[in-house]
Amino acid sequence: MSLAGSSDVRGALASAPGGKVTPPRRARRGSGRRVKRWNVDRVTLFIVFLGLPLAIFLIFVISPFIQAAWYALTNFGGFSPTYQFTGPANFIKLLGDHNVLNAFLNNVILALVVPIVTIAIALAFASAVTVAGPSIGPIRGIRGSSFYRVVSFFPYVIPAIIIGIVWSGVLDPSHGILNAVLTSLGLPFDDFAWLGDPATARASLIFVMVWAFVGFYMVLFVASIKSVPAEIYEAARLDGASRMRMTFSITIPQIRDSIQTAYVYLGITALDAYVYAQGLTTSGPATTQVVPQKILLNLFHNGQAGYASAIGVASALVTLLFALVVFSIARAARGRDEGRA
């Protein structure tokens, strides 16, 4: 497959204007342009650094995408090699399927809440361990900051599914440590199902996801804050700026790119959220059902692979839309700032 792919590329290159047509040298030299001839060295370079990666990308990333988009337009059952083209029937079915729509709503809520909460906490921690230290002497973090940095990174080291299993144990109604602590304090939480009660299930899911992510994004923000010149903070401190003011007027504007990246990453993860939802609330209340669970249900259990593909395509569109919205907002915000400056 990779050979075929690379010969395609080679063919395309050979037929390229620069490859076959050799314009008069002098004219080229006169205009200051120069087209190099194709030699073995260049061709190998292109094959190794472009042809091969491109072929791998096409075969393992793009082709499944297109295949899924095609299946979404068929009544493919998943187990029989025969199927018919049904046009947009699967998408029309999706729009009337309130279980799936509800799962989409849940994912969107997660994509709105999880990044904001995670980033806010991670930013607060990152500021604390870098610039929020004593207001005398050099700009530094609070005492023991390197210790906190390591500790808060721990959750990120644990695989997501383990986090799900551990927390579902902690939140277990009868034998979980949380209810044990709460009841020993005299609170009425005996047998309370944190992950089963519709009132608390979504919040519990969000809490665990935030817990899992905060450490990593804190480390990311710490790295960004370190690249902000300390003089700016010193100048602000001399001007009498409070720590809060420094965060909002210096830290956030200076590391805005990192925040934006973090927001997009977190949002995409929250638009998936499969491992957390499955690990914590397999068949929990309707408020914790997420889209990938519906895809798997239709793909493997209900024998509706075409419909599952349609849900997948819709989910990809929602994800793209999300990234688009985040980037537009960021661009708009930057434009306004630059205008003011």
């Binding site: 395609d8 090699p81 109604p173 089963g196 519709p198 397999t282 068949s283 493997f300 259990h301």
Partner: protein
């Protein structure tokens, strides 16, 4: 390389990339459209080889590796190797049946025998066209020379019959009952309830003893759905079952169903169900019954003894009792049972050796294999008379046999939940109901919507149940 030529090159690459992006997946899609043939090599049919399995066949069997493990198929494989020298059975234990077998079905090279069971089983209506009819296995003689269909319990073929054709042989006899600890009941001089009113009364006694009547776990909330449907079928007769299985409008509003739901709601509202089940993993919840003994009763299939083996209190004496009726004048007697069979074995038509797959089934249904299964798994297979009177010392197995004997021919089963894969959606509603968060009406509406959605969806193949 100057900037100018770089941009030209990039354009060419994009062009090539686009061409590739269209060509490759198309090729893959087209390739996946072609099917392989099946049937495979066959040998001479004879009394010893009724399906004509070819010499020196290695039968490829993919077996669900769940509560019953897979070595009972290995056991049958050894007998097959003895009967047909040169041939053998290769058993591949698998937990994720659908995920593993999907590409093999689409690619036209499925195994010779599958046990399509477990949480990741393939929905039968999506592979029906690709499965062999197994009627000739029933018509064949077992290794002892008796016709196999004469050796089976009544009603065990039903779950494998689709539109009148036997496409799967469910090997393990499964009956649904309400399970309790005989020793605990004896100590407190309680008797297992036979009607919902008696169950409510027992709930009061349990409360007085600081216990609950029922426990439940989030992934198994629909065990109570099974209890409700079975109970309603006993109360209202066969018509109730047909309305459910054929996805009839208003199936959940049938009078007997509503009576049972109301009775269960009364128990929930009285606080006789251990709270928190919607957040408890189901085996943990089951251990609250079998080990902590904080709940008295648990509705489940007969696999429960095997499943909880390591988490059952010593001297628990697990015993089953038939599910409750609403009144003593129910259409079916209280001793009636939902008796069915689990672990559906099927033979794909495109398999290399269809005859080999069937031959393994024939061996499994013979006396030696079936007795081995009952003895090592403490569960009866669908073959009769393989469990001795002492039931290998298991109270649960003994109670199964006595319930079966008491039910005689009053056995039934329902199949719509398995046929259409509705369990996942129904779980959400049942968790809310058992939690006391929803009313009988809300539950009825929600469950009816799930059935209606399937009934109205033309893209889902319907299985008519008679």
């Amino acid at each position: 390389m100057s900037l100018q030529s770089a941009s030209l090159d990039r354009r060419n690459f994009l062009r090539a990339a686009l061409a590739g992006a269209v060509a490759i997946p198309l090729g893959v899609t087209l390739a996946s459209c072609s099917t392989g043939g099946g049937g495979g090599a066959t040998g001479q049919k004879s009394a010893k080889n009724p399906f004509g399995m070819a010499d020196n066949t290695t039968v490829d069997a993919v077996i669900f590796n769940g509560g019953y493990k897979t070595d009972y198929v290995d056991f049958a494989g050894k007998i097959l190797a003895k009967e047909h020298s040169g041939s053998s059975v290769k058993v591949k234990p698998e937990t994720k049946i659908a995920t593993t077998l999907q590409p093999r079905f689409v690619g036209g090279n499925p195994p010779d025998l599958i046990d399509n069971s477990g949480a990741d089983a393939i929905g039968f209506n999506s592979i029906l066209d690709q499965l062999e009819e197994l009627q000739d296995v029933l018509d064949a003689n077992n290794l002892e020379g008796t016709k196999i269909s004469d050796t089976l319990y009544p009603g065990v073929l039903t779950p494998g019959e689709f539109d009148g054709k036997l496409k799967a042989l469910n090997y393990v006899l499964t009956l649904y009952a309400v399970w309790y600890s005989a020793s605990l009941f004896e100590k407190n001089s309680w008797t297992p309830p036979t009607t919902w009113d008696e169950a409510f009364e027992l709930g009061g006694k349990a409360k007085a003893a600081g216990k609950y009547l029922f426990v439940w776990g989030k992934e198994a909330a629909t065990y109570y759905q099974t209890l409700v449907i079975d109970s309603a079928i006993k109360e209202g007769g066969d018509e109730v079952r047909l309305n459910f299985d054929n996805l009839k409008d208003g199936a959940w509003s049938q009078d007997s169903v509503q009576k049972v739901l109301t009775a269960l709601k009364k128990i929930i509202d009285a606080g006789y169900v251990k709270p928190g089940g919607s957040g408890t993993q189901f085996t943990a919840a089951q251990a609250q019954w079998s080990n902590d003994q904080s709940g008295l009763l648990y509705p489940s299939g007969s696999w429960i003894e095997n499943e909880m083996k390591s988490q059952t209190a010593a001297d628990f004496k697990m015993t089953g009792t038939p599910e409750f009726t609403v009144t003593t004048g129910s259409k079916l007697p209280q001793t009636a049972l939902r008796s069915t069979a689990g672990e559906p074995f099927a033979v794909p038509s495109a398999a290399k050796s269809v005859a080999g797959g069937k031959e393994v089934l024939r061996v499994m249904l013979s006396k030696e294999s079936a007795t081995n299964f009952a003895k090592t798994r403490l569960a009866p297979s669908i073959v009769k008379d393989t469990v001795p009177d002492d039931a290998f010392g298991s109270t649960a197995l003994a109670s199964q046999i006595s319930m079966l004997n008491a039910a005689k021919t009053d056995t039934f089963t329902f199949t719509f939940v398995d046929n259409y894969g509705t369990n996942t959606d129904q779980l959400v509603l049942w968790n809310a109901f058992l939690d006391g968060k929803s009313s009988v009406n809300e539950l009825t509406d929600g469950l009816q919507q799930i059935s209606d959605k399937i009934a109205k969806d033309d893209s889902i193949k319907k299985i008519t149940v008679k």
